[in-house]
Symmetry: C2
Subunit: 222 residues, 2 copies
DNA sequence: CTGGATCCTCAACGATACTG
DNA sequence: CAGTATCGTTGAGGATCCAG
């Protein structure tokens, strides 16, 4: 429980004392996508020891980043969510995601995609989320049995978990969808080679590819 | 040396595998301020075990974030510096600094300020560094026996380590200087109460205080 | 069935000493 | 100065168990 203290009066050092703990960044990522129950966190973080999760949640609660909501009457389930202070970590999560994504080519052996990871990735790719006012498009994105949705409407982009309702276009793909978002694989080729499958108005895929962007780093070594 | 692998094809997970290691964020912070020799890193990171530093440097080199430059002939000293890929972590460091600084009030028992920490803090506070074109001001900032400098010139802000050459104003203060940068302590009061001492054109202090800003979080619990 | 607590093992970390 | 070697300690990993 005694977190590492770096002994420096420094914002980064203080941040490191929190997010430098193992699993903490991924817990925050999952919670940044939406409130979660304990078992949902376990499911979204394959490999996390249950005691580690319990410890981390307690630490994050002590730090004021996470609040556990005990349901009032009919005892259903404890729900964990980011507090307002916890929301302030988002820009850092996004910057780290962007950095990490820059060095990410294809999945390593055994690497998976989770609901939170794809949703967070799409949110980062959306960036500030400015699009023309007259766009009104709903996308569904499926990777494996995971599904997320992207809505471009009223000049803004909204990203969420789960299937879209009445999507204009459903995009089904593997992790290689990243090559499209990195600009390394142009949409027609992606479709032609079967990297992505489209259901619905296929002409909307170009818009998706050009709007959601997380570039590869130009400086990855091997 | 087998870093933690989270098994997820996710930018944040990949980033976490690197910066989630102990001390790594602070090593990157120090290197982001400027190239460093091994002993300088040790000096700037009080408490770091020497073997941990050696291990981290090797890991960061393997990741392509840090390059060690062995001096050519007259054997002087190995120098570590960020690579272009390493530079890409800056936005994440800044976002984390900002987050951590938001929760930072006064120093905890025994916390110190280092050259890299103050320089990094000023750099983050400078933000994008846009100032009016006609400003031409050189500040020296002293905290304890540490000194950094801030130059506002040609519409930009430059922050660096070490004393300023021919400063217009030298600001000497303790860690409470943060209250000024957070907007919680107005400049006249800071001067009047002796929180900061000024040498030079004291009228330039207002400009310093309004330009360099790292706000406190409104949501820190206790 | 959810939300943990407990136990044990081992790899990583921390402290110190020592060397090219 | 720039690390390596050694060793004790801590925290993570993994399985299991328990309470509401």
């Amino acid at each position: 429980m005694t977190n590492q203290h770096y002994g420096q009066f420094c914002g980064l050092a203080r941040a490191a004392e929190i997010v430098g703990q193992r699993w903490t960044l991924l817990i925050l990522r999952d919670l940044s996508v939406g409130p979660r129950r304990y078992s949902e966190l376990v499911a979204g973080l394959p490999g996390i020891p249950t005691n580690t999760l319990a410890t981390r949640l307690k630490e994050l609660e002590d730090e004021g980043l996470v609040a556990r909501t005990v349901p009032p009457a009919g005892e259903r389930s404890v729900v964990y969510a980011l507090t307002p202070r916890g929301e302030e970590v988002r820009p850092a999560l996004d910057a780290l995601s962007r950095f990490g994504a820059g060095g990410m080519r294809s999945p390593r052996e055994g690497e998976i995609v989770t609901s939170a990871s794809i949703t967070a990735a799409l949110r980062v790719a959306a960036g500030e989320g400015e699009v023309p006012e007259d766009w009104d498009t709903v996308y569904g994105v499926r990777v494996g049995d995971i599904e997320a949705h992207v809505i471009m409407r009223d000049g803004r982009i909204t990203v969420g978990e789960g299937p879209a309702e009445r999507p204009d276009l459903v995009i089904t793909a593997g992790p290689q969808i990243r090559d499209v978002m990195a600009g390394e694989l142009d949409p027609p080729t992606a479709v032609a080679t079967g990297v992505v499958q489209l259901e619905g108005d296929a002409s909307l895929f170009d818009r998706f590819a050009e709007t959601l962007r997380v570039p590869y780093s130009e400086h990855v070594p091997a």
